[in-house]
Symmetry: C2
Amino acid sequence: MTDASPLLLAPNPHDPRLTQAVSGVNERGERVETAVPVERGLTLYLNAQEIVTMMTINDYPEYLAIGYLLNQNMLHPDDTVTEVEYDEDLAVVVVRTERQTDYEGKLKKRTQTSGCAQGTAFGDLMEALEGVVLPRAELRTSWLYRLTHAVNTTPSLYLEAGAIHGCVLARADRPLVYMEDVGRHNAVDKIAGWMFRQGESGADKIFYTTGRLTSEMVIKTVRMGIPILVSRSGFTAWGVELARKTGLTLVGRAKGKRFIALAGEERIVFDQDLAYVEEESAKNRRKGAGDE
Amino acid sequence: MTDASPLLLAPNPHDPRLTQAVSGVNERGERVETAVPVERGLTLYLNAQEIVTMMTINDYPEYLAIGYLLNQNMLHPDDTVTEVEYDEDLAVVVVRTERQTDYEGKLKKRTQTSGCAQGTAFGDLMEALEGVVLPRAELRTSWLYRLTHAVNTTPSLYLEAGAIHGCVLARADRPLVYMEDVGRHNAVDKIAGWMFRQGESGADKIFYTTGRLTSEMVIKTVRMGIPILVSRSGFTAWGVELARKTGLTLVGRAKGKRFIALAGEERIVFDQDLAYVEEESAKNRRKGAGDE
């Protein structure tokens, strides 16, 4: 994002598989061409069992598959993944584990969480939060402004084609992994999958999302063991309640100079002189592209 | 929205059940109070069968229940709904139909659509589109600008608390029903449920959403029999493809003067002199609140 801190994984807006050029008319009736993000079906198997078909830009099927299973609590942090097979022609990804798995029952149980609901077995996610204690950590406002600026200025599918969500995993003021997807939950899951594969701990991380701070987003961040969640978007009441219960630092409406923290404020260190923070420029403003 | 055309149903931003005041700190470390939308679990039964638990602001449980079942193709337009029971204490809504229903199988089949995925049985939705022919209709750009202006200036939960989606059902330049919810799919479903209960046809309607123009949004609009779908947000490739297949007029990125139509352009009548259209004011700009 800045030359000083190259991303380990960044969006590739020029990957021709991820966007499609379409033609239409604008408000003056003029013929125009524009780019839109592509969404593909990807069917996920855990060992012998078909779990779900996801709609994704499909840039990281392996990370998406593993992250989805982790966030659905179908794969446990201590599980051994023996193999991940991806067949591009069949649009199938198979995750094999040492542990035998059977989620027949779980697949019948569905709660629609707010925002990007995933038919998540919500009760199980709540159970999985019990006993989780998030580590002590620091969020310096100087990091926060550098991170949000970096996200807004990194070349991305969003800037290319809009209608896409972004998530960034960061350490202090350094963005490490920037994932995008048509479904915000996919972007989160791809980062969870990357962390699992790299054996990265969430303890020293900050999670940034373009999406709203819903209960689902809070639960996933806590499950990743990340103590700080930041968004340019707003809050829901249950998201705030869960963040307070779990001790997550929840920062929302982070745009330009402004932000508001509704949980875990004690982790915030106000070290930034606001006189040196730019307001968000129209060029970098996300024009509702994440709306969903 | 304008005095000339009062809404039949409008958001009630001052309903104390829909928002909650929470306190936090702002970027200067100052204590601030803000309002956030409340989300509640609502468990839906179709006759004797538990279908799903939805997270919703729960302002119209009956419309949400019926609209959800319609959009999942579990309730058919010609079905007779004999009773809808809502129990506020149990947070349960039961829809009873003349026809016997059994969706055990369907509940096992899940595809996550992009954006606000709902564990929709997508194959079934696609089948339900076969043979659908959308009526001839007109979208005058003068209507479009009056509608978007009306939506942006109507008192709403969004303006009060953010982090919420809005959908509007309109006829010509007149907004009829404006629904909001934490999950965009809920706002759509509530309008579908209202149409079913009122016996309203979609043929002479225009559907406006703050959310992205995903495949799921296109499918739901077509299923409602509405020939024109407008959004301030962007497109996905599959959304555009489905709109073209089904003959839906798809207008996106509609903000201030600007919009782009990627399907069904032939329905658009460019009757508005753009010199008299205001750019969207910062006050009315949706500040990513719908992000999800």
